[in-house]
């Protein structure tokens, strides 16, 4: 258990908001799990006091006993509620980036290293209705939380809360987890899907050195890492050894997506348009590069390239 100083223990901000962001994984321990009666719990206590007064007034021994029994069951219930969260380990799995306006899926892994099943563990972001889960002993559960992706960029994951009122509903134990995790939101793609004119192509900037993929340019010896698609299988069959086919780029299909082409609009609008272009260009199988005031991405294609471009757009500015 990480050391928690006395001053920290009684810090109200921790109570309501949790700790400052900390790196994964998080283990729930005595220092960060809180417990308080629920409204039902308070009501239960009041009921017991009334019953006790009745028992005293009528001098009713079994009335005393039943009051004490119910009270004790509630107290033992505190231990069970608390144990239901204690020692749980929490991790956030990989969060896929999304476009602004969409919904981020936050997969949270709850691991139960303890001997008892955890029942009805509620998990949710502060402003959402939590969902409840069982975590059997010695296993883990992946819980998917959702949050709206509003703004572009690298967004802090924010605080989520694990809580439980199991078994009696009289007490609620909870722990705030403030993960030091971020998720990436790409700009929202603009509606206009038309790609810029090819006249904006700037061939002179870069030469082609046989790293394109459209026009056959010749054969060379296989190097490890070459795509199997480009292996000259017929040559192999003729027992000429492993050869790799080389292609030259198709100059006419090469596209530069340039920040400067969108003069006269706000920067977020430009980013949205560029984002749309990246998606379109990738879909049409073009080779495209991205020119931003702070970054130039060489033309290329493929999911990795697209992701690189989108990330640059997301983190711009």
């Amino acid at each position: 258990m990480p050391p928690v100083s006395l001053a920290q223990r009684f810090n109200l901000a921790r109570f309501f908001q949790g700790d400052t962001p900390s790196p994964a994984p998080w283990t729930l321990h005595r220092g960060n799990v809180y417990i308080l009666p629920t409204r039902q719990g308070v009501f239960f206590a009041v009921t017991l006091v009334v019953i006790l007064l009745g028992a005293i007034n009528y001098n009713n021994s079994l009335g005393y006993f039943l009051t004490f029994l119910l009270g004790s069951i509630a107290v033992v219930g505190i231990l069970h509620t608390y144990r239901n969260l204690l020692q749980l380990q929490v991790r956030v799995a990989h969060i896929e980036p999304v476009f602004a306006g969409g919904e981020v899926v936050v997969p949270i892994v709850l691991n139960n290293p303890g001997p008892a099943q955890r029942n009805r563990v509620a998990l949710g972001f502060a402003d959402q209705a939590p969902c409840q889960h069982e975590i059997p002993s010695g296993r883990h559960t992946v819980v998917r939380l959702y949050r709206p992706a509003t703004a572009r960029g690298r967004q802090p994951l924010g605080r989520f809360t694990l809580s439980s009122t199991f078994p009696l509903g009289l007490f609620r134990a909870w722990s705030h987890v403030v993960p030091d995790e971020y998720y990436l939101v790409y700009p929202a793609p603009a509606a206009d899907a038309r790609l810029p004119q090819t006249s904006l192509y700037m061939a002179s900037l870069l030469g082609d050195h046989g790293i394109g993929s459209d026009d056959f340019a010749g054969l060379r010896g296989y190097r490890s890492g070459d795509s199997l698609k480009h292996v000259h299988w017929k040559a192999l069959a003729r027992e000429q050894g492993l050869l790799t086919k080389q292609f030259g780029g198709d100059r006419s299909q090469r596209l530069w997506l340039d920040w400067r082409m969108l003069e006269g609009t706000g920067s977020e609008t430009r980013l949205s348009q560029l984002c749309r272009w990246v998606i379109e260009a990738e879909q049409q199988g073009m080779e495209y590069g991205l020119w931003l005031p702070d970054q130039i991405i060489e033309p290329g294609r493929g999911p990795q390239h697209q992701q690189q471009c989108l990330q640059a757009l997301a983190l711009f500015g």
């Binding site: 009335g63 005393y64 039943l66 231990l79």
Partner: protein, 662 residues
Amino acid sequence: MRRGLSLLRIPQANGMLLLGVLLVVLPHLPHLPWWLSLASLAVLGWRLLYDAGYVPLPNRFVRIALVVLSILALLLTYRTLVGREAGTALLLLMLTLKLFEMRSWRDVTVVLFLGFFVMVTAFLFSQSLLMAVYTVGVVTLLVASMISFQYPDQALAWQYLQRDLRLASRLFIQALPLALILFVLFPRIPGPLWGLPDDASAGRTGLSDEMEPGRISRLADFSAVAFRVQFDDATPPPAQRYWRGPVMWHYDGRKWRTHADQIRLPQQFNLTPGDRAVDYQVTLEPHNRQWLFALDMPITVPEGAQLSSEYQLLSRQRLNDIYRYNMRSYTDYQLEADMLAGRARYVALPTQTSPRTRELVEELVQKTDSPDQLVQAVLDYFAEKPFYYTREPPLLFDDPVDEFVFETRRGYCEHYASAFTVMMRQAGIPARVVTGYYGGEMNPLADYMIVRQSDAHAWSEVWLQGRGWVRIDPTGVIPPSRVELGADLAQRQPEVRSRLDADRPWWHRSLRQADYAWDALNNRWQQWVIGYNQARQNALLRALGIDHINWRTLVALLLVTLVAALLIIAVLVFRPGPVAGDRTNRLYVRFLRKLARRGIIKAPAETANDFSARAVQQQPAIADSIRQITQEYLLLRYAALDNEERRQRLKHFARAVRDFAG
């Protein structure tokens, strides 16, 4: 709320709660007005049908009308809404009607807590051992339904029912030590906090402070225990077991009454005891009166008690709690032998009372020489004329004594005591009616005597010059042949009793044995649980060596023991147990050892499946069990099972491994 088509689709939590409420209501049925019993069962049934999806709930107006109507009906029945009976009925009404609007978790909470409340009120009517056991069961069920409400959408299913009941029982067992500590050490505040309603413990006694023979035609036969007695030495013979209670001397022509009278000190009585003292201890059941009972004649007065001028023991407070006191009595005695104080009131009679009897008495006085002889003559009269003892005598209308002595001649102790006392007064002999208990049976399994409400009795006391107050029991002269079998008196006359016993089958006798054992157990229960009070608490602590007890030491002791117990329980709850799956591995290793004995040894790198295939090849005879065990093992290790399924599978797995022939 979900609507299902079959009863089985009731949400489990609702089903359990409804069962719990039904069990809470059941013990109240005997003392509720019939309409309320019917109504509460009907509401429960309705709610059950609603949960099963057959009927809708009544709308708001109907509900409000129901509440108003039933409260009016309660007012009509009880004329009040507070007190033991009416208050309980009101709570029960609230509980059942709340079922009609149980929708949210908040309503459920209200129903649950009202349920606990109504459960406690049942203790105002009975605190028996059975009731306690029953209550513990119901509380566990209600707690289980609280757990079920954590899974609001779960349909009723045996396995979930078991799961929730199991957890509830575990909570109960863990809570029990805390509850016991609280029970023993929680400071007991004596006496009521506010005025006890009059019916707090009404209807618990066979005695009353007035007596009107002929008004009630049937004696309630109830065998509830009035008090228990432990004798230090020998038990007095049956004929001397007269337990003195309320003494009545004021007669208005129909009714005998006790009278609030001055209290006297024992020294003010002229009581000459005989030779043999009887020392004993009485454990009196609460009866909400001040009467204490003692063997005729007590010579000591218990602490907190006093003597009336009729030589009746009275406690200073109403007895709402088990009360235990030590007594010493002399069964032979002379009370006020020389001088009678307040003679006038013991001979007073309304004028014109019982003229026919007066004639008879005058006739008898003519025939006899002394008061002693007159007493005997009157008793002979009862013995010779066809007087019968019955528990169901005819009603008496105009002049009860005349009608009884000359016409009906059927009655129980009150009729005889009343008639005899009136006749004595008509002859100018001071006389009074004494009520109390006559008899008592020894519990052969434990060394104490049980005196029951059905032993309630009335007799007469006459003052004779030189002999003082002499007890005369006119009922006792009725010959056994004229005692109705089955009447309470029959139980007390030894010859009748043996005649009865001879006729009884063996099972009846063993039933009585069981009854004694039960009473012995109940006696313990009464003394240690129901009767646990401040005095007993202090005695217990003194026995533990804690002498100066005030509420502060008590609270400190309570807190210390509670915290200690809670720590122990917490350690048990939080102890790191084996992680699920460990047992699976242990069992699998055991299986491997058994196979190794057959010479098939698993290589460290071999997977369970590969090993199984190899083992099957080498031992085709046991192929099935090898495959099955491997399958179970893999399921337990890698499948996502919930707790219940895991438990079941693990059980199978363990059995398969155990039965596997190594």
